[in-house]
Symmetry: C2
Subunit: 550 residues, 2 copies
């Protein structure tokens, strides 16, 4: 903030200058949606009018159970229409939505629920066995609301207050939602790093509304065109993971058709993609790789032509983007992280590239993209000085935007580490090109420092992944007396019985040396084939475990 | 605001939660624009990089002249690239942009400049003769910056500090813009009512950023699709009139090509429409009527196929929309007012209508449309109770949104009249249909109260305008002993020498009575033909003067 004195004028006593509330997104969507629907697996569907009613009913259910403003409400569910309703109803009564990462180990789930001070829990019946043994250690929880896909008697020791649908059906369809301070916390969830306990990040009504408006602007831009009222959306990034990248809010604002697939089962996903004519999804590269490698898809028995997939979490490689393109799947990139709500950049193709052929587009599709409106993004050297936008100078990415977590919940030291001099330090390393496009090379701790140079493990992964016979690869730095560090690769062969030789891979990489893209010393001498590469709970390469396996 | 206590969490000391600043819109546009340009008549063009540099240079020029945060800077110019730069540079240094309505009478211009407390003036040479006689009465003005389209010596008694272009060219292209309270006033301008002095309305950085994001969302929506990065925009609503509906901000956010036509001269407008391949403009119905009636356009000698025109200010009639459509011009409606920044509703066609034929679309194209995101809009009866959404119940339109003027500048009584119980009362009368579409019938004071019923003068104008031989029509209520009021019409004939008879018009209107659209007593007995219908400075029917002429 500056010390200048701009003109401030008083408001009329009877005037209103409304705070930004998540509920406004829902109201806008209801007006826009027409007959568009919210679909849950092959089990239920209803229009936006009913969606709105259910949000109001859920608010009644919660407040009738004593949930009040300021309470933290935990949700444990797979992607569902109910989860979408929780995205709105919980923050709209002034409570905080805690989206529990159900893929964490039980002790970590317990840690997050204790740390968040959850006061009420909404859980799908599948998670009863997870929560029952933990309930004793959660004395703050005043009640459990159960979600069932089919009504059947259930034996549980949990103090269940009732079943979601039956309690909902008893409630009136209009709730007088209050309007309150837009800086009130709306959502809270935990991100797992490579060390220490999960860290809680939180977002306010204001932050989520602004994130949604900016994301909507990017998603509708030419050269991207991922989503609008007339498209069908299905997430394949879980709703507990950074609000499914905020897209359920954005899709709701637009009034788009939304399909929630429940637990991610390959058969159900593919069934819904086809039967609901899904236009747009988002996922991590690993998941897209699973889809395009699936027998039925790869053989074009199932036709996914026209499906647009936004890839984030890790970089989209050119080989994966090409493989998808051959199957008619249109991939784009985006970049962000749990701490950033998450969207920071979007791979909106420039005008001349958007009209070019696929080969020309390919490198652009794999860049992280342009900062979306209201984001300030810099790539800085080790002295925090912005670097040249030359596409080559590599440094840490730091950002400002009106939707960045203002702290890690109850973690002062780690918060101060995240925020330095008013900038959120992403811990990611990348470069900006002449057009302002960001390319992420690595996590700062995954950069391989060899012979005084920085080598991007991600770039090397991208080259190795193009080698015939290689299905997947992870590169890390290993200590080396002479060079400081040297790159080492862990790879999965397409045919485990007949993997390429190390010499094959090295010979393949020579072409990139010839093309000036790779320096010869960057070719790894250590390449080891394994059955599976360790991944984190959200499907990213788990470099910590990989290091221990090399 | 409510009395509930939601969860508020403290921010890390080193964290930033940026305020919403107009400058962020410019930065987003520069990233998106690629080679897109800002065009001024047939005189100049430059890309967004230069646009940004010129904004920074203008900030240097202003501060070098002693303009500081909190100062009000008046601009008198026709639509130009310079004006666009003023839209950004002036608020971005913390000063207030006063867009002077140059079409007002000199004494009104003086009134607004005195009332606004203008401290500095940027004016086009065409307005020297307007301002010279007033300068003595503007002692607060510390300097005048002159804009010239061609450099030539000028004799003026005004204390001119220099010429815009030459001062700009001396300045560095990077200005360290401060970030400050988003509730600081950014813009101020005056709206003329039918009685009393012009009223000042003002908008903050926050309000303009939110208005822009919401307008961008609406403009990119399917069923509207007016503007995006790949389109060419040219305003035909002056930039001094409610920020040209905020579209210069929205076009900048998107990085679209922008064409500024200077003074609205029919020849230049048409030349630019064709040579710059303009995709999108906005204007009042009167102006569109002028264009479609122009010889060269009507004869299709000039082809405007594909031109999209957003019509506001007054309702778009079905006959004008049809006439435009026959020439390939695609019209849409929007609704708002000076007090509302202005956009409140947008005629985004519903999915089923957007794919229907023109005849089906026609009535939808002429409705004011759906409230855009973050707008709450109600139609209320005389007790401020919301009416049924049945497309028939007519009442006053009242609104809430995060971009409504919080007062009339230094006008407490009129501010309190505008704002009642936390709602901005538009003074417009309309109805909402089942799908939530607003139709505006009238100004509340223009509603004709006859025999205890409300008759919409606008609706009657729409029917009469369809009568063969009638070019334009205005309807007002005149006092009547028996009925309270009776409708009277002022009309312009297509052929002034051969106007239709009153009986012709009345006979023509009978069909609407038969169709149940009009009640028989609503057929006016007074219909008078005139050469021209009085209009206000922004081209709306001037019902006050019309009343005096009937």
């Amino acid at each position: 903030m500056s010390t200048i004195t701009p003109k401030m004028l008083p408001a009329t006593a009877s005037a209103t200058n409304p705070s930004l509330m998540i509920g406004d997104l829902l109201d806008a969507g209801v007006r826009m949606a027409g007959d568009n629907q919210i679909v849950y697996r092959d089990q239920s569907r209803h229009d936006y009018g009913r969606f709105r009613e259910r949000v109001h009913q859920l608010a009644h259910v919660l407040t009738a159970q004593g949930v009040k403003a300021g309470d933290v409400v935990a949700v444990l569910d797979w992607d569902s229409h109910r989860y979408l309703e929780c995205f709105f109803a919980i923050p709209m009564i002034g409570a905080v939505l805690h989206t529990v990462n159900v893929r964490l180990a039980p002790e970590q789930v317990l840690y997050t629920m204790e740390h968040a001070e959850d006061a009420f829990v909404i859980l799908h019946e599948e998670f009863i066995s997870l929560i029952e043994p933990l309930a004793d250690k959660l004395p703050l929880v005043r009640g459990y609301l159960l979600c069932q896909d089919a009504s059947q008697a259930l034996n549980t020791t949990l103090p269940v207050v009732g079943e979601f649908e039956s309690l909902l059906s008893e409630q009136p369809t209009d709730y007088a939602f209050p309007r309150f301070d837009e800086n009130a916390v709306a959502t809270l969830f935990y991100t797992t790093g490579t060390t220490g306990n999960p860290k809680g990040v939180f977002f306010t009504h204001r932050q989520l509304v602004l994130h949604t408006l900016s994301e909507a602007s990017a998603f509708q831009a030419p050269g991207f065109e991922l989503l609008n009222r007339d498209k069908v959306y299905m997430p394949i990034t879980p709703m507990f993971h950074v609000h499914a990248w905020g897209v359920p809010y954005t899709a709701t604002l637009m009034g788009a058709t939304q399909v929630y697939p429940g637990r991610y089962e390959p058969e159900m996903l593919v069934k819904l993609l086809v039967s609901e004519k899904v236009d747009f999804s988002h996922c991590v590269p690993t998941l897209l790789n699973m889809v395009v490698s699936a027998e039925a898809v790869a053989s074009k028995q199932i036709d996914l032509t026209g499906w647009k997939v936004l890839v984030g979490g890790s970089a989209l490689t050119q080989s994966l983007a090409s493989k998808a393109w051959e199957l008619g799947i249109d991939t784009r990139s985006a970049y962000g992280m749990s701490e950033t709500c998450p969207l920071l950049t979007a791979g909106i193709l420039p005008q001349d590239i958007a009209t070019a052929d696929f080969a020309t587009q390919l490198p652009w599709r794999c860049k992280a993209g342009l900062p979306i409106p209201l984001v300030r993004l810099q790539v800085v050297d080790s002295n925090d000085e912005p670097l040249q936008q030359d596409g080559k100078s590599i440094g840490e990415v730091r950002v400002q935007a009106p939707w960045l977590t203002q702290a890690y919940f109850k973690e002062e030291a780690r918060s101060t580490e995240l925020w330095r001099d008013g900038w959120l330090h992403t811990g990611d390393v990348g470069s900006l090109d002449e057009r302002g496009f960001l390319t992420i090379s690595d996590r700062i701790k995954d950069v391989i420092k060899t012979g005084g140079e920085w080598l991007s493990s991600l770039e090397l992964e991208s080259y190795i992944s193009q080698c015939p016979g290689i299905a997947e690869v992870a590169v890390i730095g290993v200590a080396d007396d002479k060079w400081g560090e040297r790159p080492a690769a862990l790879a999965v062969a397409v045919d485990a019985n007949n993997p390429p030789t190390v010499a094959d891979v090295q010979a393949f990489l020579e072409q990139f040396v010839t093309q000036g893209k790779l320096r010869r010393w960057a070719i790894p001498s250590m390449i080891r084939f394994v059955d599976e590469i360790p991944k984190t709970s959200v499907g990213k390469l788990d470099k910590k475990r990989i290091r221990s396996e090399v």
